[in-house]
Amino acid sequence: MSVLIYADNHGGKFPKSSLEAVSYGADIAAQLGTDAVAITCGKIDGDGGLGAAGASKVLVADVNTSDSQQMTRLVVAAASQVGASVVIFSHDIEGKLVAPRVAARLDAGLVPGATSLPTADFTVKKNVFSGKAIADIAITTDKKVITLLPNSYSVKSGGAAAAVESFSADLGAAGIKVKEVIHEGKDGEIPLPEAELVVSAGRGMKGPEHWGPIEELAKVLGAATACSRPVSDIGWRPHHEHVGQTGITVRPNLYIAVGISGAIQHLAGVNGSKVIVVINKDPEAPFFKAADYGIVGDAFEVLPKIIDAAKQFAASK
């Protein structure tokens, strides 16, 4: 028996969400008195840091595919080889693509986007109703699959180096052909779903030419930038920055919202944030009800003061 964790490899580097999944899987393995085995694709340096995060063994497959059927065959073969009773993914793009297929193939119950370790009867917590409630869901099948919500579990450190083994399986033919990959983000930009700090702005900025202070504050804090739906719809900002019910859901430690009124659909995408700061000149903006800190004022007067203070803070660190 073992716990198998799929760790998504981004060009030799594991994003935080993958390390969180490994640490989560390692803690489940400890609960069950068994081993945590990670599987990953592509090249890694040593154990890729997965041992420190809790894996005792890392299976490395020389595979590069966007095809969910091939990925499923790979993970199912690994699960079979290591006798996995539990398979863990991150609830990220790859996890959403592959985990449901793996669960169907194993005839396993799946909880997507779990936020807690399982209890003795394998009940885990999961956000439902777009973050407006939490459900306790028990998996009742012998085999179990969980995808872990990003930013909801801490990455462990200090584990011993993991044994690294190469792994291969019959993947069959690919049903999907990749024609083109387009990178929207600038190099060095922090991807929004992984960001711990987010500076977000809305229509209150009055036009795309006024985003300078938002980008500057984000840069000083080391934060990602985001925006509300109207702003991405009218093309002031790229679609991949749109946070909300129909866009990206974020759960950063800090979410600073500037000139966003806080419609319920926007709140659904940010209400997992630990601390919310709202800056708006309208004291009646509904966002203040969800905020931890609020500033009622003109963004163009308030932001320079915050940027100055943030620069001093950054210099003092």
Partner: protein
């Protein structure tokens, strides 16, 4: 290895249909509480309180999956079938989907106990029909799982493209754009396949009076559920802890925010 549904007679079409552009698209829809609904629970927090709640077609299923399927049908000819797994209370949302323009609908008469159960019902229905494409929304707004379409694809043993933002179809080849970390990927896949639709696929359509009238008489078949058991069980619900209230900072002292975030909130 558990039993996988028999897919030998799967959705690939007979050779004499191969060059036909008449597309058959299955769109799976779920019902969900209106986005402004008050979220509360009854029966000792074990059930969602439906009292006073308006149910709608899950927005991802309607705005993106259904509307794009209709656009493809309008451009190239074809048929759009709605499939739901649920009780009789599903009929208003199914009629709404028919009013927007779907041709016919099927309801599998079963309580939607969990995603694997629902996926097995969809796959069991689709496996011996000739569907070129199965469309779902990227997730429901009540359970936010993003799970059913991938399970359906595996049970049918066909390709799956998740979080698709664009699709064009020429003959039996679809060109699909999907979200990947930090950007997007353009893929080519042959029918049959399953897709989950995200923002960008299409714009919301408001049904017109003619559509609403026509929907009343469009075929809505009710079929018995396939044998399957639930794989998960909801033990109970709770509401997230209430926020402690907003601490206001005067705009002239806005710089104090950084100190509070560092020393009090400890997030920077």
């Amino acid at each position: 290895m558990p039993q996988i549904l028999d897919v030998h007679c799967l959705i690939s079409r007979p050779d004499n249909y191969k060059n036909s552009i008449f597309m058959k698209i299955l769109v799976c829809i779920s019902k969900a509480p209106d986005t402004t609904s008050k979220i509360a629970f009854t029966d000792n927090n074990s059930k969602f309180d439906e009292n006073g709640v308006q149910f709608i077609v899950n927005p991802y299923d309607e705005w993106y999956a259904l509307v794009r399927a209709l656009e493809l049908k309008e451009a190239g000819g074809g048929n759009v079938t709605i499939l739901s797994v649920g009780g009789a209370d599903y009929e208003p949302v199914i009629r709404k989907a028919l009013a927007i323009g779907a041709d016919d609908a099927v309801r599998i008469d079963a309580a939607e106990s969990d995603s694997l159960f629902v996926a097995k019902q969809i796959a069991s229905y689709a496996k011996d029909k000739v569907f070129d494409m199965v469309f779902c929304g990227k997730e429901t707004i009540n359970f936010n799982g993003s799970v059913v379409p991938g399970m359906v694809a595996e049970l049918l043993d066909v390709p799956y493209v998740a979080l698709a933002t664009k699709i064009e179809v020429a003959g039996n080849t679809a060109t699909i754009t999907r979200e990947v970390p930090g950007g997007e990927e353009i893929l080519e896949v042959n029918t049959p396949f399953v897709l989950s639709a995200a923002k960008g696929m299409a714009e919301q359509r408001i049904p017109n009076m003619r559509g609403i009238m026509a929907a009343r008489t469009k075929p809505l078949a009710v079929e018995a559920a396939a044998a399957a058991s639930a794989s998960t069980e909801v033990k109970g619900y709770s509401l997230p802890p209430a926020k402690g209230g907003c601490k206001y900072i005067a705009p002239e002292n806005a710089g104090d925010l950084i100190k509070l975030l560092h020393e009090e909130a400890k997030v920077i």
